[in-house]
Amino acid sequence: MASFDIVNYSLRPSKGIQRQIIFDGIRMLKSRLELSDMIYVGLGSIWFSDFVQAHKSLDIRRMVSIEADDTGYCRARFNKPYATVQVRHGHSSAVLAELHDDDDCQAHPWVVWLDYDGRLSEAMVGDIRAVIERSPSDTILLTTFKARATSYGRPEQRKERLRDLLGDVVPDDLSKAGCKGDRMQETLADLVTDFMKAIGVESARPGGFIPAFRIIYKDTMEMVTVGGIVPAPGNVSSATDVISDERWRCRPQRRIVAPLLTIREAVTLLSLLPRDDELTREQVRVSGFDLEQEQIEAFERYYREYPMFAQIVA
């Protein structure tokens, strides 16, 4: 792939698609389980894209953004998009503990998205554990982290590193090959999911933990998003129904690697979709430009979620 595909950090189409699919999924769960008055908990960002989605598509009013960094905290407060977003200053572990201790927060289900930029760490694993152990029933948990193999030590060290992080769920026969290249993202997605299930059982959550989300995506970096729900016992079967329905799109087989397109390219492609046959490279060429086959496929699969940004030139 040519190098013009790897620039532009501000536009991350794969991440945008992923976010859209996940919010659609949460909406399905929300309506089927009749969840209301949910609280959204996210990690600090000055963009608040997830908060906007939470408000618009899930109709969530109460939102908490956690920001540890001093400057980031200041900027987050400045940038918060709605009056009902509360920006809390502190490490996620400390703020989550405060929220868990708060009776009022305990009275509503949460959507928690721990969207970390970095590789999986002890602190993140601790946050995941805390959310599963202590959040109110029907809380939906998502976590996103960097999953490039080389972030986890040299190949022969990776299994031990994972064992350090995730404990007993890491199988003794996990191979070195399973921790290399693209396989590493699959391994991480599966083992973090297993870890969540294990915590659900070990902390005796009456409805356990039901895995629901598993997406690998890549813009400039391989990322993994996994998560699920800790349903109230009475909601276990409805949640399972939603997730096992064929319309559930939050566990795609293939990773999301969307092409970075100009608005003009994207609009041109959209005008060719949807269609019954597959969009071919030839048809793209006929319309005036060119893309590689896999880029075309990725766009065709996710054109409805493809983020469209117009750049404002001041």
Partner: protein, 455 residues
């Protein structure tokens, strides 16, 4: 026995509900599954002639397979170990205790002959045990015993037996137990990936002596590999391996004790540096081949009892194993859950004296070692790992005689940094799993070299 306020006997017969609750209470789910594996192995062993299981003999178990599968919907175990006969089933397998006038007294004892029933009750409420075997005339026979716990519990009147049905044959002579309608706790555990992986680890360890003889145990379709128990031999190191006969009442119990260095002791005793490996060390006890106590560092194997110090990380690297072998399982020092030893057993206490002496030799070695570290490390690199079956007979453990070197006074450094920074530095230093201590030492050397130079 229940007594009313006037002191008359009112009702001395226990209910099934009470009984089921009592036998399933103090055993873990893992251990009940191991109880079923024990039954399969007993059958295989019986098929092979049922001689004493000692380390040295050469019985090959590679023809035998045990397959286990566990999901939140269903549990099953199936073996090809010969099956149980209809007589077995009628006479004892499905009854509780011996028939006769004292049958009610059995419930409070019930150490033997409860494993299978206990496992079934612990797992779920809809159970089907099937057996296919070849009788003495060479004819293949099959039967099934369905156990519907809720139905069965409705009637407390003795006898408490189960019905035996006709059944079609299994592919191989053996037993199959299928449990459906799992209990809530069981269902949850079977949905826990950590549970299944830990069960595999437990099987790998507790049946390592059988697995090393070729027995095949699969969980979820994947074979479990036995954990090798190995000791280092050579270069002045040699494990002890002694054998003696003891008496339990009239009966004879064979005892074999093996112990020595399994790995060099740790460089630091910092608990942060304790990696997985530490879990392997300590004392193991096997009863008729089944490991009932593994890597023990507690008073059960003697650490911290009279004249024997408590376990300390400094002693890591040591593995000892004691094997008790008896024709009558009742003579073995095992508890009913088979998860520990009966520390009041004379046979065991007598073995423990010898275990203590061996442990103390190792303790002494690790003490001297601290003051002769360079030489110790050089010598510890020489010996090679040998599976315990191949350890040579020797009356005592051999360890090199180290000479203490007088060392310069040292400064111990202790400080805290965020784990994330520590891990990042470890990664940059080439090993994300490097111990904190080593990261500290490397950083010190690096800075020392920069600011002080050589020396």
């Amino acid at each position: 026995m229940v007594v009313n306020t006037r002191g008359d006997k009112v009702d001395a017969s226990p209910t099934k509900g009470f009984f089921v609750n009592m036998i399933t209470r103090d055993i873990t789910l893992e251990d009940t599954i191991l109880d079923l594996i024990d039954n399969s192995i007993d059958a295989a062993w019986h098929n092979e002639g049922g001689q004493a299981m000692e380390l040295a003999d050469t019985v090959d178990l590679s023809a035998y397979r045990i397959s286990i599968s566990a999901s939140p919907e269903r549990f099953s175990i199936r073996d090809n170990c010969g099956g149980m006969t209809l007589d077995d089933a009628v006479e004892h397998a499905f009854s509780f205790g011996r028939r006769g006038s004292q049958e009610l007294e059995e419930y409070s004892i019930g150490v033997y002959g409860i494993g299978m029933k206990r496992a079934a009750f612990k797992l779920g409420t809809n159970i089907r045990v099937r057996s296919t075997y070849t009788d003495s005339d060479g004819a293949r026979e099959a039967f099934a015993v369905p156990i519907l716990v809720d139905e069965w519990m409705k009637n407390d009147n003795p006898p408490w037996d189960f019905d035996i049905d006709e059944d079609h044959e299994l592919d191989d002579d053996g037993v199959e137990i299928v449990v459906e309608s799992l209990r809530e706790g069981t269902k949850a555990e079977f949905g826990n990936p950590a549970f299944i992986r830990n069960l595999r680890r437990m099987i790998a360890r507790d049946y390592s002596l059988h697995l090393n003889r070729g027995l095949k145990i699969a969980v979820g379709g994947k074979a479990v590999e036995g954990l090798p128990i190995e000791l280092r031999q050579g270069g002045g190191f040699a494990p002890v391996r002694v054998e003696y006969k003891d008496q339990a009442g009239e009966d004879e119990v064979m005892v074999e004790i093996i112990g020595g260095m399994a790995a060099p002791p740790p460089e630091s005793i910092d608990p942060d540096d304790a990696k997985d490996g530490d879990r392997r060390f300590g004392w193991y006890v096997a009863c008729n081949g089944r490991i009932v106590l593994a890597a023990d560092k507690t008073t059960v194997s003697g650490w911290g009892t009279s004249d024997w110090p408590q376990w300390h990380r400094q002693y890591s690297g040591f593995i000892g194993i004691v094997l008790f072998t008896a024709a009558n399982a009742a003579d073995l020092p095992l508890t009913t859950t088979k998860r520990s030893v009966d520390a009041s057993s004379g046979v065991y206490l007598r073995a423990r004296r010898r275990m203590r002496d061996i442990s103390k030799e190792w303790i002494a070695y690790t003490n001297v070692r601290k003051q002769a570290l360079a030489e110790a490390k050089r010598r510890e690199a020489v010996p090679e790992a040998v599976p315990i079956q191949h350890v040579k007979k020797r009356l005592s453990i051999a360890l090199p005689k180290l000479v203490r070197v007088k060392t310069e006074p040292v400064a111990n450094v202790n400080y805290s940094v965020p784990v994330s920074k520590m891990k990042r530095l470890a990664t940059e230093l080439g090993n994300v799993n490097m111990t904190y201590r080593d990261v500290g030492l490397k950083s010190f050397d690096y800075t020392y070299d920069d600011h002080v130079g050589d020396g």
